[in-house]
Symmetry: C2
Subunit: 94 residues, 2 copies
DNA sequence: TTAGTATTTAGATAATTATCTAAATATAGA
DNA sequence: TCTATATTTAGATAATTATCTAAATACTAA
């Protein structure tokens, strides 16, 4: 999970996640949303891949990236723990 | 919100958040949970403070740190958006 | 005022990270 | 095989980050 937190620390990568939330995309399509050279996008995608936040699949000349919602949900769960259990404590006290 | 994501990218800082979830603590109390020199803890606390994830209050010789759940919830909301709206789309299609 | 304790700040250092350029690799079609 | 396109890898570089040591600051009590 540390890798996920690290990957999400960068705004470019968060935007990539947001893009892939809506639909799967090729590396080139993703790159079009940024004013950045493609190797840099590759580097970011590699980071997200390493954290398993995205999955990649080659389709001929293209590589299609998709969001791995399972891992996003894991990180989500961490926040839930930080917020939710605190609410439960409050309830118990009342 | 970028500051929050950055702050949370470090495991030491995430552990601090987890500690403060349970109860407010002084810098010294927090430091006891880590095998690290106090200036380093200070550095981490400063990062969390800068991101507004924690709040500090001097009480005599001590500085007490508390979790700022509002900001934690903001970040939580980001994940909700990544997960939740995707679920809604699925529902609409069914 | 001095001494003790809590905590931070400053500075150094090594490691990590984000972007670029150049080159390499993978796929497809002629 | 050559050419074109998509994408990644490699290397350089500047910026950022995490830990340490030394020093400074803040508060308390004698």
């Amino acid at each position: 999970m540390n890798e996920s937190f690290k990957a999400l620390s960068d705004p470019t990568r968060r935007k990539i996640i947001r893009l892939l939330r809506d639909k799967n995309m090729t590396a080139g399509e993703i790159a079009e949303h940024f004013n950045m050279k493609k190797p840099s996008i590759s580097h970011h995608l590699n980071s997200l891949k390493h954290a398993k936040l995205v999955l990649d699949e080659r389709q001929g000349q293209h590589i299609v990236y998709s969001l791995n919602t399972t891992v996003v949900q894991e990180v989500f769960g961490w926040f839930l723990e930080m917020i939710d259990s605190k609410k439960e404590e409050d309830k118990d006290e009342k």
